[in-house]
Symmetry: C2
Amino acid sequence: MKTVRDLGEFNLIHRLQRALGKANPTVVVGIGDDCAVLRSADAKKFLLITSDPVVEGVHFTLDTPPRQFGWKAMARNLSDIAAMGGLPRWAVVSIGLRPNTSVRAVEQIYAGLRAAAQKFRCEIVGGDTTHVKHEQFVVVTVVGEVERSRIALRSGAKIGDSVFVTGTLGGSLRGKHLTFTPRIDEARWLVRHFPVHAMIDVSDGLSSDLQRLVEAAGQRIGFEIYAAEIPLSRVAASSLTAALNDGEDFELLFTLDPRYVTALRRRWPRKFRLPLTEIGRVVRSRQPVTLVDAKGKKQSLMPAGYDHFAQRR
Amino acid sequence: MKTVRDLGEFNLIHRLQRALGKANPTVVVGIGDDCAVLRSADAKKFLLITSDPVVEGVHFTLDTPPRQFGWKAMARNLSDIAAMGGLPRWAVVSIGLRPNTSVRAVEQIYAGLRAAAQKFRCEIVGGDTTHVKHEQFVVVTVVGEVERSRIALRSGAKIGDSVFVTGTLGGSLRGKHLTFTPRIDEARWLVRHFPVHAMIDVSDGLSSDLQRLVEAAGQRIGFEIYAAEIPLSRVAASSLTAALNDGEDFELLFTLDPRYVTALRRRWPRKFRLPLTEIGRVVRSRQPVTLVDAKGKKQSLMPAGYDHFAQRR
């Protein structure tokens, strides 16, 4: 009997996606991007929907301050909205609690959820509560919107594009994964001022998320990533591997026509303190992701990010 | 230290609701109805959002065929959309799976989710998957819509209204809770043809859900329910208590101006085979719910439906 672990998360999702079949005409993008993209009554905007589970023992532990995992549960979804260039509007929260959990802890979870939502003018409008015996969980669903002319999908990378990443990568599990700021302000600014070709948030690790941009492109493209340019977080400073594979960075990874690079480099630091780094380019290649070292030596980079069922780490 | 069990589910939700504070102007109804009701770009319609968790050991067991709990996880949300008089449009699914679960079982869960969604032209457009060690769960969020002129809230019950319930009540846990049909067709027909004052789906038991209509009314109303009129399901035939308190019936409970009762009684059976029963009326009362027996003797009916944390049953 083939189990979920045997198949792995990506294959499982692909299989389920195929099983869902062809979507109706209101669905612009279904499963397979950071959010589902839907045609709404507003002819100038798309509706965005995303839903992410956060589970005790996987995404947080009993030692995690409840306010922090509330924040994380909301912020992960906001990061998905950011990855489309969108604005969050409403959130619903489904939560599984052990009956012996203190009311104070539940209020702190909600304080965290609310703090993250309010920071980006997202309103918590509903949800439901249930009891669990073992692992507590929080599932947040966020509905947002984005101008049709500004949406950034995973699928738009073009040969010749420059590749950028915000912030620094690696070592998120030492703390950042619970307190990170979703890059909504940055993403909104980017899609307003630049024709971003493809965008994703780095959630499973740079190596895996680059692979996803390749798959979404639907043509033979590849990434050449300059190892020396990858912005390492201080906690992961000594480890390129951590920056490539740790995941949960929740930074923006995007591609842009090279003729806009000069303008972006000039304007970004006037607007944001957050680092923005050009880490590579999109090339015609059968090799999805190639890492180029300081001497120009190339090696294939395999996706090694987080698989929920393989439990590699 | 006060725990979630001490406080109970309803009090917990009330407390969290207060903590969320005043909603922004896009929110017509936030936490406290079957769905959140939101102003969208379409001036003639409201957007509806609802999210419900289904957890192993609470809502289904290891013996439950996976296809059935998939169906249930989707149908519960569709029932919430029905309770507003709305139409479901899109669904996202967050699912927690043990790694040793068979791929076949996961496909069956999705087959159930999809079957329920497709029956009502709702499209599964996304979601996420995570692993759990113990209890598996499925959280479905459904986004729907309803004409502003036709929406049915919990809050509209008026003194003098007649009270109706569809189908039969009680004993759902013997099987119906896994296979029930959300009353979307019936609810749509009702709100198209009749000015329904208040509506809810019977999920926690008639006694509890009547109480909720009283609380939502925001004025001193009460229900007089004729015990002999309550339509008992065959499996609960001998037990009025089961019909009052079991819950998970997922039938429609609504109130209507009495001058439309004759027309409703005439037209309903031409359209539906499902029973429709007038079970009481809305009165001016300090007593939320009063049960009237065949001899006219009255007794107060206390809510005794399902509380997720009190674990009364």
